[in-house]
Amino acid sequence: MNGVRVELHGIVKRFGPVQVLHGVDLAFEPGRIVGLLGENGAGKSTLMKILAGYEAPSEGDVLVNARLVRFDGPRAAEAEGIVLIHQEFNLAEDLTVAQNIFLGHEKRRGWWLDDTAMRATARTVLDEVGLHKVNPDTRVRDLIVAERQLVEIAKALSRHARVLIMDEPTATLTPSETGRLFELMARLKAEGVTVVFISHKLDEVERVTDEVVVMRDGRVVAREPTAAITRAQMANLMVGRELADLYPPRHAVSADAPVLLSVQGLCVPGWAEDVSFEVRAGEVFGFAGLVGAGRTELFEGLLGLRERSARAVEIDGRAVRPRSPREAADAGLTYLSEDRKGRGLHVRFGLRENLTLMALQRHANPWLKPASEAAALEQAVRDFGIRTGSLTVPAGSLSGGNQQKLALAKVLHPGPRVVVLDEPTRGVDIGAKREIYALIRRLADEGRAVVVISSELMELIGLCHRVAVMRAGRLQATLSAEHLNEQELIAHATGTH
C-alpha cells in the first residue's frame, strides 16, 4: 500500500476572539507513528480536526502529497485517506455497533443495505480491536465507555485509513486493551499508514512512537525522534519548565481514623457480587480491574443508579440506603463519572452552571447569587488550573483535559466527606495530573475518604494506601501500599495469581 505525505502550513485557528492555533507548520511522513504531545488546551485536537476536515482553518493550508486540498467536511478528508478517531466519542447511541461503523459508508446490494456483509466486516474489525464478545447488533447505548472507545477505533479501521489520527485512544483503556491496540498500530505502520497518536500517557508514547511533536499554546515547540528524548524531557517540553515528582508523599492513616465509607455485601445484579470494603478518613482507596470488571457499575449501584442490594452501607457513620445521587450527596458522598460527556458535564451549559450544580444551595439565599457563583468559578479555575479563553464559554468548548478538571471541581464543590473518582485523570496532561494527585492527597489529608477507580495502575500504586482488585464482578484482593506493584495487580485482575 502506498502511503501519503500530509503537510500543514501556517495553520491558524480562531474561535471568535480567541486564537488557539498560531501558525502551525507540520509534515507527516508515511509509515511512521508520530506522538503528539501538549498540555490540555494546547491545541492538539483542534489541529487534528483541521487535518481531518472537521474544522476549517482560519488561515493556512493543508497539503496531501504536495497537493493543496480544501476539505469541506470529514468525508472529503476521508477520500484522501485521512481518518480521525475522536477524543470525545462520535457515535449515534441509538444505532448498533455495526450501523455506527458503517454510517455514511453503508454496503449495499442494489437498493438494499447489505447488513449481512456489514455485520461480518464489523465482526472482523471488532475482533481486531479485541471486542470479541461484543455483538455487532448491540446498540451503542448499551456499551460501556471503554467498549465505545474500541468501537471508535474499529470504525476507523474499517475505513482503511492511510493517515490515522488517534486522539487519546487509550484514555479509557486498561493495559491489556492498550497492548492490543499497539500491536495493531505496528501492523498499520508496516503497511505504510501514517499514525498520529495523541496521549498524555508518556510511557505509552515512549513505547510506541517513532518521533514526538510537542505543542504548547497553539504552537509546535519541539519535534524529536522518540529515541532521542526521555519522558522527563517530554514533560518539560510540554509544560515549559521542570516537573518535580509526580506523586506527593503518602501520609499513614492512623488506625483509629473513623471509617467514613463502609460497604457490606453490595450486589449489583449482573455486574457485581457481594462486595465489601471500608475506607477510613484520610485514606485513598483504589479500585483496579480490567475493562468490564464491574467497578463503575458497583458504584453506580451504590448510588442507587442501578438495581442493587446490600447488607449494610454506612457513610460518615450513618447507615444509609441512597436511592439517588441526591441522597448520596446528602449523606456526604459524591461521585465523578468516567463518562464525561454523557454523565459528567452539561456541554451546553456555562462553566459556572456546571461547577455549582451539585451545591447550588450554597449560592442561594433563596435567590441565587451570581456573584458568589462567579467567585466560586474563579477559585476553581485557579485551584484546578482550568485553561479557557473566557469564563463564559459553554463547557463543551473546553479542551478535553480541561473539561475533566471542571468535572472534578464540580464533584468536589459540595465538600463531600467521601468522594469517589472514576478515572479522575482521564485525558489530563502530565502537569495537571500532578496537581490532581496533589489535590487527592490534600483531600485525604483534610480527613476525607477518597476512592479512586483507575485503569492506570501506576496511578493507583503511586497514590493509594490500599487497592482493591475486581474481576468479573468480585473483589479478588485488597492490597496495601507495601504490596503494590504492577505484576501483583495484573495477576489479581486477570485471575492468574
Binding site: 472537521y54 467536511g73 470529514p74 468525508r75 476521508e78 462520535n90 457515535l91 449515534a92 447511541e93 441509538d94 444505532l95 448498533t96 450501523q99 454510517l103 455514511g104 459508508h105 453503508e106 449495499r108 437498493w111 438494499w112 443495505l113 447488513d115 479485541g130 471486542l131 470479541h132 464478545k133 461484543v134 455483538n135 447488533d137 448491540t138 446498540r139 448499551d142 456499551l143 460501556i144 471503554a146 467498549e147 474500541l150 493495559p175 491489556s176 486493551e177 492498550t178 497492548g179 492490543r180 499497539f182 500491536e183 449482573g270 480490567l290 475493562v291 468490564g292 438495581e307 468479573a472 504492577e486 495484573i490 486477570t494 485471575g495 492468574t496
Partner: protein, 334 residues
C-alpha cells in the same frame, strides 16, 4: 504489559437485535387485551366484517402515521397533516370537477385526481422540508403555521362549506374506497403496502439508516457525511406523499371535503406512533409498532360504539385511560 493476558471483554447484556425489531411487546399486548375485552362485550366485535371495517377506517391515519414515524424518528414533528389532507382533498375535488367538461372518461379523471393528491402531498412536504432545513425554522413552528394556512385555504375554496365531488366521478371513484380485492378492502391493501414499504425503507435502505442516525445524533450524522438536509427534506416529502395517499383513499369515501376534514388527524397520527413505542425524541422507532398503535386507537372507539355501558360523554375518558394503561405496560426501565 502482557497482552497475552487479555481476557476477552465480556459481552454486553443481551440486547434485542434492532434490525427487524418486532413491534414492542406493550402495544401488541394492549391490542390483544383490548380485543379480548371487545369480544367479551359484544360478540359482533370479533367478526370479519367488523375487523375489516376497523382496518379500513384505520387506513388513513395508519398511512399518515407511517410517514409520521419517519419524521419523528428523524427528530422532527409535523402538526399540519390533518389540514394538509383536507386541503389536498379539496383541491383534488375542485380540479376533478373542473375537468368534467373536457369529457374524458371518469376513470381517467379519477386517475388524474389521485396523481394530483400524491403530487400535492409531495409538494407540501417538500415545502416543509425546505423551510425546516434551508429556512432553519423549528419543525413545530413551520407546521403549526401551515396547519393554519392549509385549513384556511380549504375553507376559502369551499366557501366555508363542503366541496362535493361530481356524482359521476364519485361513482367512478367509489371502488377505490369501497372495493375489495380477494375479500380485503382496497384501503387495507394500500395500508399494508405502505406499512411494508415503510418498514423496508426504514430498516433496509441507507436512507432509513440516515433517518435514524439524524434523530439519534444529528452532529454525528453530519460528521459521517450524511446529507442531513437532503435526508430531512426527503422525510417530510415522504410524509407528504403518505398524506396524499391517505387523502386519495379518503376522497371516495364521502366524496367531499369540508373545513372539518382531517381535524385532529395530526394528534391521532402522532399518538399512533408514540403509543406504538417510538420515542418522541427520535433516534429509533418501529413501523410495526406504529401500525399496531394506529389499529389500537381505532379499536378503542370501535368498542365504545359497539357498547353502551358508559355514558357517551365519557368516551374520550375511556380512550385516555386505555392509552395511559398501554403506555404503562411498555414503560421504560429505570
Amino acid at each position: 504489559m502482557p497482552p497475552e493476558r487479555t481476557e476477552p471483554i465480556a459481552a454486553a447484556p443481551p440486547s434485542a437485535s434492532p434490525r427487524w425489531r418486532l413491534p414492542s411487546f406493550g402495544p401488541l399486548l394492549g391490542l390483544v387485551l383490548l380485543c379480548v375485552v371487545g369480544t367479551w362485550l359484544n360478540s359482533e366485535f370479533a367478526t370479519l366484517p367488523n375487523a375489516l371495517n376497523v382496518l379500513t377506517r384505520t387506513a388513513f391515519i395508519g398511512i399518515i402515521a407511517v410517514g409520521m414515524c419517519f419524521v419523528i424518528i428523524s427528530g422532527g414533528i409535523d402538526l399540519s397533516v390533518g389540514s394538509m389532507a383536507a386541503l389536498i382533498a379539496g383541491v383534488t375535488i375542485l380540479l376533478m370537477n373542473k375537468l368534467v367538461p373536457l369529457g374524458w372518461p371518469p376513470v381517467a379523471l379519477v386517475v388524474v385526481g389521485m396523481a394530483t393528491a400524491v403530487l400535492l402531498g409531495a409538494l407540501f412536504g417538500l415545502a416543509h422540508g425546505l423551510l425546516i432545513t434551508r429556512g432553519r425554522i423549528e419543525p413545530f413552528i413551520v407546521t403549526l403555521g401551515t396547519l393554519g394556512i392549509f385549513r384556511a385555504y380549504l375553507t376559502y375554496f369551499a366557501d366555508g362549506g363542503a366541496l362535493a365531488l361530481d356524482n359521476d366521478l364519485a361513482d367512478a371513484y367509489g371502488p377505490v374506497y369501497y372495493g375489495s380485492l380477494l375479500g380485503v378492502p382496497i384501503p387495507v391493501w394500500v395500508f399494508a403496502l405502505v406499512a411494508i414499504g415503510g418498514a423496508l425503507l426504514l430498516n433496509r435502505t441507507a436512507y432509513g439508516r440516515y433517518v435514524q442516525a439524524i434523530g439519534s445524533n444529528e452532529q454525528v450524522a453530519r460528521y459521517a457525511a450524511v446529507d442531513v438536509d437532503r435526508t430531512k427534506v426527503l422525510t417530510y416529502t415522504l410524509l407528504g406523499v403518505c398524506v396524499g395517499i391517505a387523502t386519495l383513499l379518503y376522497v371516495p369515501r364521502l366524496g367531499s371535503a369540508s373545513p372539518t376534514t382531517g381535524l385532529l388527524w395530526e394528534l391521532e397520527a402522532i399518538a399512533a406512533v408514540i403509543v406504538g413505542g417510538t420515542a418522541l425524541r427520535g433516534g429509533a422507532g418501529s413501523i410495526g409498532g406504529t401500525v399496531i398503535g394506529a389499529i389500537l386507537l381505532s379499536v378503542i372507539s370501535n368498542i365504545l360504539n359497539l357498547t353502551s355501558i358508559i355514558s357517551v360523554y365519557l368516551n374520550a375518558a375511556v380512550q385516555g385511560f386505555v392509552i395511559i394503561a398501554v403506555a404503562f405496560m411498555q414503560r421504560r426501565r429505570p
